[in-house]
């Protein structure tokens, strides 16, 4: 029994000695240093980009501009709208216009100052709803109203359902642009050998990077090798494709010398962001406390390029309805271009924004109707066997247990201090990737060592340790004999991506399949040696075991004249919803989480202090309790950032606070005095990811607790002291 044990991360020693081989440590022979020259205009025609003076700087080897790009100058996960560097036009402040490779970073930086760029400014638009209005500046001519994606969910007769309602609530909730802010920035290095490209990159999606580079450069998949060392945090910001095309395109001009880019903190803020969102919920309820209908309208600010948004906007649609029984639901989820940096996945992707909306409105409804917010939720939460607005049946549903578990921790007497303390709750329901595939390859050597080749990215979540634990239990091998290698697309088999909390389930099942095949082989090979039929044998701690005798895996191989034994496993799902109606199966598993907050509000300053927080996620079966607790805790703490403090503030499209002084993220002083983590397990024992489940409930749980404490409702994140104070003043008429 290794699953369920809190073994330390496999490379713990490296993690406490500073020896983890992050991308920033990578040094290659003859390596050049890269620097990006970025747009200072939010929207402009590029009249001229003159690199003459920059090329004269000693040490400059190559400069890439839009002129160098051929037919495949544009890339994107779903819409190829983003130039590798800008071609003829820029659409946000910070957009790459040129990239320099030099012998030293200082030479590259000096050259960057000498590139002359002539802009002809165009009108800009920064707000998503404004961008959809007639007469707004158009960013991409193909999309006349700047809407690049409109995802629709149509379920039930809305007019009839709203007519049945006793009360109809309509509220709009907003979230601003925020940043993933992994401490390790985006780092990539590329080197060409003829028509073969090797790219080392801090990415959550090595095979997406490979596919994209294959398309851009028109080369075969096996000509692109993507190597990903452990990440210093990802949180969605390193998902999909980011700077890799630029790095590879510049490296193509350096005669085979490698070029490495390390983005600065300021560059991080214009490379990928969390979608700003405006979400309007119109919800019909009956006096008996049940729902009749919900209409959801969402504007996602995608920034200047679609990036991953065409995939995320439909995901955000199904994630906007909430975990409650509602007979009629319509959702319109719009992905909109604006002159801001492109948005991408942000831990708890899209659910962070949608849960903010639907869980805030739950309390607004409950308070107006005179119901207890907790009881109102419990009355309406889904249970197994019910059907979601997509029409799909829900399985292994544990919303109530999650909410009960997190609420229980706050059940003790509420400290009352002149009514300034309050409690609030939040529940969330999140899909994972509907169609995806994971493959795993397992190699046993004749010394009994087991190597897993996997493209799951280790980014701090403990993905590699999790897989090793699954092998130890499923194959019956000692944990100490197991090594995990990858991702390296030349060596490790396919995996869609390390995101959406999918690895434990998807890669976990691929690993289980590989272990199953290997175990079967070992029993077959061991049977004649142990003089017993395979079905009377088992494996344990690296041995094939019969009733009275056992033989080590290594000796099973040696006695069969085998040096190695390799087996592969695969797990995939192929699901999805109809693009016009949103009907179908949105996900192989619905992620479930809840949170309960107890806050104190200082009515003199508006300052909110989180006194206690309790978070619960549904894990199915916990692989490693300590790592699960770290994920739950980490989600709450990460979530407190956008809840209380995080917002990129733009002025004319220019980020004004792109640094960790003016854009604060939670420190050890910002965490609740008491933080409790609970993982809910199920009889079915299926392993599910828990990388995000306790994050989205944080913001609404805190806002709901604030209203409970002082009777004001904040609908726009982040909940700063200023906003609370203003609301308190408005309430008291001061």
């Amino acid at each position: 029994m290794v699953i369920g044990e809190s073994v330390p991360m496999l490379d713990s020693l490296a993690r406490v000695t500073g020896a983890v081989g992050y991308m920033i440590n990578l040094r290659l022979p003859n390596m050049l240093f890269g620097k990006i020259v970025r747009s200072q205009s939010p929207h402009a025609k590029l009249l001229n980009v003159d690199v003459t003076n920059a090329m004269q700087v000693p040490g400059v080897v190559a400069i890439l501009t839009g002129e160098d790009l051929g037919a495949n100058a544009f890339y994107g996960v779903a819409i190829k709208d983003q130039g590798i560097v800008a071609v003829d036009r820029v659409r946000y402040v910070g957009e790459p216009i040129a990239a320099i490779a030099a012998e030293s970073l200082s030479a590259a930086e000096e050259a960057a100052l000498l590139i002359d760029i002539e802009y002809k400014d165009l009108p800009s638009v920064f707000d998503a709803q404004e961008a959809t209005q007639d007469g707004a500046p158009v960013l991409h001519e193909k999309f006349a109203n700047n809407v690049f994606k409109h995802a629709k969910l149509r379920h039930g007769d809305m007019d009839a359902a709203f007519a049945e309602a006793d009360e109809i609530f309509e509220d709009t909730f907003t979230s601003p642009v925020a940043q993933q802010a992994s401490l390790e920035p985006h780092v990539s290095a590329a080197q060409w050998d003829g028509e073969h490209l090797t790219i080392w990159t801090a990415s959550q999606a090595p095979f997406m990077v490979q596919k994209s580079l294959v398309e851009i450069f028109g080369i075969k998949p096996d000509a692109v090798r993507v190597i990903v060392p452990p990440l210093g945090g990802g949180y969605g910001g390193k998902g999909h494709i980011r700077i890799e095309p630029l790095v590879a395109a510049l490296a193509r001009k350096t005669n085979g010398r490698p070029v490495k880019f390390v983005l600065s903190r300021a560059e991080e803020f214009v490379t990928v962001t969390k979608h700003a969102a405006s979400i309007t919920l119109k919800t019909g309820v009956k006096r008996d406390g049940t729902f009749t209908a919900r209409q959801v309208t969402i504007y996602w600010n995608g920034g200047a390029y679609a990036d991953a948004s065409p995939l995320l906007v439909p995901a955000g649609m199904v994630r906007s309805v909430g975990p409650y029984r509602i007979p009629a639901v319509h959702v319109d989820s719009y992905g909109v271009y604006t002159n801001l940096p492109p948005a991408g996945a942000y831990r708890g992707a899209m659910s962070s924004q949608t849960t903010w909306a639907y869980e805030s409105q739950m309390d607004i409804i409950a308070r107006k109707m005179g119901w207890d917010p907790l009881e109102f939720r419990m009355k309406n939460l889904f249970v197994s066997g019910e059907h979601f607005a997509t029409g799909e049946e829900l399985h292994d549903v544990h919303f109530m247990e999650c909410l009960e578990a997190s609420a229980k921790a706050l059940k003790s007497t509420l400290p009352k201090k002149e009514g300034k303390h309050g409690r609030g709750y939040g529940v969330m329901m999140k899909s994972t990737v509907a169609t995806s595939k994971s493959q795993a390859r397992l190699k046993l050597m004749d010394d009994g060592s087991v190597t897993l080749y996997t493209s799951t990215v280790e980014m701090g979540q403990g993905g590699h340790t999790t897989m090793a634990q699954i092998i130890a239990e499923t194959l019956g091998a000692p944990l100490s004999a197991i090594k995990v290698i990858g991702p390296d697309t030349a060596i490790t088999p396919f995996d869609s991506t390390t995101s959406a909390s999918r690895s434990t389930s998807m890669m976990g099942n691929a690993v289980i399949a590989a272990c199953g095949s290997m175990k079967e082989k070992l029993l077959e090979l061991g049977a004649p040696l142990l003089e017993a039929p395979p079905d009377e044998l088992r494996t344990e701690n690296g041995f094939v075991v019969a009733n009275e005798i056992s033989i080590s895996f290594g000796n099973v191989l040696k006695r069969n004249n085998l040096e190695t034994l390799e087996e592969a496993g695969e797990y995939s799902t192929s699901l999805g919803i109809d693009p016009e109606t949103g009907q179908g199966i949105a996900t192989p598993h619905w992620h479930q989480g809840a949170g309960a907050a107890e806050v104190a509000v200082d009515t003199e300053t508006g300052r909110v202090t989180i006194l206690r927080y309790s978070a619960a996620s549904f894990a199915g079966r916990v692989v490693n309790p300590h790592m699960a607790q770290l994920q739950n805790d980490g989600n709450v703490i990460f979530g407190l950032g956008p809840t209380l403090m995080e917002e990129i503030i733009f002025d004319g499209g220019q980020a004004t606070n792109p640094n960790l002084a003016d854009y604060a993220i939670p420190s050890i002083r910002d965490i609740p005095a008491e933080l409790i983590s609970v993982c809910i397990e199920s009889d079915k024992g299926e392993m599910h990811g828990i990388g995000e489940m306790t994050l989205p409930p944080v913001a609404p749980a805190v806002a709901n607790a604030i209203e409970d404490a002082v009777g004001v409702r904040i609908k726009d994140l982040p909940i700063t002291a200023e906003k609370v104070l203003r609301a308190l003043k408005e309430k008291s008429g001061r």
Binding site: P8, S12, L13, Y22, I24, L231, L630, D633, A661
Partner: protein, 152 residues
């Protein structure tokens, strides 16, 4: 000029480079890392004469001749320092990009104050950021490390 790092003396080129650049690029001591470049995140924390400083804000020339200590100096005779062991035992990291900085801040704290209260620990470590949010376990690790060091 001479830099004294982890008890060894290194001849390094004079110039305007930061301590962090010299440690990483010249001395191959890569435990300290840049996170923000402005002394806010603590990922580049090293000790100078026992005090934690941001390697990204300190010019190497400013600390010539002083005692510089990095995470690489903590392992003695192949044995982890009790703070490092406590970080493993309490699972006080996830991506671990910030971990060397936290360990060195904790080291300086426990040298200064062998019996810190939780408030004192929070105050002392507030200049080190962990985006993965492992703070609860970091707190446990520092308390545990303090207890172990006091027993030595």
């Amino acid at each position: 000029m001479i830099l004294k790092v982890n008890g060894s003396r290194y001849e390094v080129q004079e110039g305007t480079r930061t301590l962090l650049e010299v440690l990483r690029d010249d001395l191959n001591l890569v435990g300290a890392k840049e996170g923000c470049g402005i002394g806010m995140c603590g990922a580049c924390t090293v000790l100078v004469d026992g005090k934690p400083v941001s390697g990204c804000l300190t010019l190497a020339a400013q600390v010539a001749g002083k005692e510089i200590f990095t995470v690489e100096g903590l392992v003695e005779d192949g044995k982890l320092h009790p703070i490092q062991q406590a970080f493993i035992d309490e699972r006080a990291f996830q991506c671990a990009y910030c971990t060397p900085g936290f360990i060195l801040s904790a080291f300086a704290l426990l040298e200064e104050n062998p019996n810190p209260s939780e408030d004192e620990i929070r105050e002392y470590l507030s200049g080190n950021l962990c985006r993965c949010g492992s703070y609860q376990n970091i707190m446990k690790a520092v308390v545990e490390a303090g207890a172990r060091l006091n027993k030595r």
